[in-house]
């Protein structure tokens, strides 16, 4: 248990560094799509939501999980879809220019 916590913490810190490296290269012109796209990625919490909703823990816990699935899914689908919509606009521009 303790060992796995340290491992998780290690992953967390390393991922933060990767995040900083990758994100600083995104140009300001794409900052809005970056936000909506990374927002969709934060919908990854759907993993926890599915486990909570699907593991048959009983009444209220399943209900909380169900709610979490709905909210996270709005986040995921809406986030990726709206990001795609925005990025398409940047792309047609390239061809038109």
């Amino acid at each position: 248990m303790e060992g796995s916590f340290v491992l998780m913490l290690t992953i967390f810190v390393l991922a933060l560094f990767v995040g900083v490296e990758v994100i600083t290269k995104v140009p300001p012109t794409l900052h809005t799509p970056l936000m909506s796209g990374s927002n969709a990625i934060s919908g990854i919490t759907i993993i926890g939501a599915i486990i909570a909703a699907g593991s048959d823990s009983g009444g209220f816990i399943t209900f909380l999980g169900f709610l979490a699935v709905v909210l996270a899914m709005v986040n995921v689908v809406g986030g990726f879809a709206v990001t795609n919509r925005m990025l398409q606009m940047f792309q047609t521009k390239k061809k038109g220019a």
Binding site: G19, P27, L30, I44, I46, V69, K93
Partner: protein
């Protein structure tokens, strides 16, 4: 048999990282977003195949309902309303993380497992961050959607109340960590965190929204991350920290662009102070106003024009009309560029998206640092719905509340045209000496209507 599932999360996280990397250029960005969504699909499918997931009906109904709602929102939202949309999505993500943390706490209790600190601390963190993200985002949404006053709302004893709430969070958080079976303390903790989120955003004025939205974006990632620690899932931890890092970087960029510290944005109640002063320091100089025809005559003689968009462009939905004006100028062989201040609009990159929607090629958009040296050699600067980011007081007047904030030097152009509805001070309520400057011509009117009139007047020349 299930040992491949953690590998699937690794694959999914790799897709996210590659996807974000592809966002570094408008050319590869669409592909990047597709890759990230594939990563998400991989993670979801792997999770559905976990041994613990046994009942699917609720999960599928939830995914269907949420998926359809998300798709409809994404399809319908106007580009000008993107900050509100991102705020809402942040809030929902935060809420989902808080709910997962709650479900896990209840499950541990039901199964009689005494959670160790390595689990109960992330439960508390996930709940608090998630709940703050939820209510903070909804207040931000209400302000942006103008459902409530956008200005800073300040009341007596605000800091005291916030301090009290912060103490309560520490106390109840401590109780839950010490005894993870105390469900009552947990729910109080969640409620108090919800209150804190709302109270923290209420005093923040509209012009500071880019910082708030970036910060909430970061929180939604960190909440997911905490949830990852709770259910011991690396996929969640990696993805959550990527988003957390992204939001923090954007927050930092926004603060720098306003020359203010994060603490000052959150606790400064900036807009309120400033509007109190604005009445006293009403402008004394003479205002020169012109018509669309006057503007057209000057523009016709110009060789170089820089257009400076701001939040007013979004409010008036003027992006297409402004593009037409730009096209009309280009047709006459005039050099046209768009100057983008990092905090123009209500979220990072807001103006870029609007101009992209109006089919303005992105290479015509120039960042502040690059374009500022060009203003003295520019014939006309046209300010469309931007205010504080063009205020020369930020450069010269040490007593101005925005002194020190980097601005676009539009006042150095040979002529500066300002399209504005009236002389009312902007969102931050600060007097703008640009409007009474020698070389400034005020074009009073709605941004969209005025841009259209200018195009017409140019064609009639």
């Amino acid at each position: 048999m299930q040992s491949w599932i953690p590998l699937a999360y690794l694959v999914s996280a790799s897709f996210f990282i590659i996807g974000l990397k592809r966002l570094s250029s408008p050319r590869t960005a669409v592909q990047g977003n597709v890759l990230a969504s594939i990563g998400m699909a991989v993670a979801i499918i792997a999770t559905l195949l976990l041994a613990e997931v046994v009942s699917y009906i609720g999960v599928f109904i939830g995914m269907l309902v949420g998926g359809i709602a998300g798709a409809v929102f994404a399809q319908r939202v106007q580009m000008t309303s993107m900050p509100q949309m991102v705020a809402i999505f942040n809030g929902l993500g935060g809420a989902a993380s808080a709910l997962v943390a709650a479900a896990e706490l209840l499950r541990l209790k039901a199964q009689g497992i005494d959670a160790e600190a390595s689990v109960s601390i992330p439960i508390v963190l996930g709940t608090v961050i998630g709940a703050v993200t939820l209510t903070g985002s909804f207040v931000a949404f209400a302000k942006l959607q103008e459902l409530m006053r956008g200005n800073a709302v300040v009341f007596a004893g605000q800091q005291m109340i916030n301090g009290g709430i912060a103490l309560a969070i520490l106390a109840f958080g401590g109780l839950v960590i010490a005894d993870p079976t105390s469900v009552a303390s947990f729910w109080i903790l969640m409620l108090v965190a919800c209150a804190l989120g709302a109270l923290l955003v209420i005093p923040i004025g509209g012009a500071d929204m880019p910082v708030v939205i970036s910060l909430l974006n970061s929180y939604s990632g960190l909440a997911a991350c905490a949830t990852g620690f709770v259910i011991e899932n690396q996929g969640l931890v990696i993805s959550g920290s990527l988003v957390g890092a992204s939001g923090l970087i954007l927050t930092q960029i926004m603060c720098k662009a306003m020359n203010r510290s994060l603490g000052n944005v959150i606790f400064g109640a900036f807009g309120a102070e400033a509007s109190a002063q604005a009445g006293a320091a009403a402008s004394t100089g003479t205002v020169k106003s012109g018509s669309a025809e006057d503007a057209a005559a000057i523009l016709d003689a110009a060789q170089s024009v820089i257009i400076v968009p701001g939040y007013g462009l979004a409010v008036a939905q003027a992006q297409h009309a402004v593009r037409e004006l730009g096209d009309e100028l280009i047709k006459r062989g005039i050099e046209v560029r768009y100057a983008i201040h990092p905090v123009a609009g209500r979220m990072p990159g807001h103006m870029n998206v609007l101009l992209a929607e109006a089919d303005v090629p992105y290479d015509m958009l120039v960042e502040m640092e690059e374009i500022n040296s060009s203003f003295p050699r520019t014939d006309v600067a046209i300010v469309v719905g931007a205010n504080d980011v063009t205020n020369p007081a930020a450069r010269e007047d040490t007593s101005s509340p925005i002194y020190g904030m980097p601005i676009l030097d539009v006042d150095k152009a040979r002529t500066c045209m300002v399209i504005k509805r009236s002389m009312n001070p902007g969102f931050a309520g600060i007097d703008n000496p640009l409007y009474t400057a020698e070389r400034t011509m005020m074009l009073f009117g709605d941004a969209k209507g005025m841009a259209e009139d200018m195009v017409k007047a140019m064609k009639d020349l």
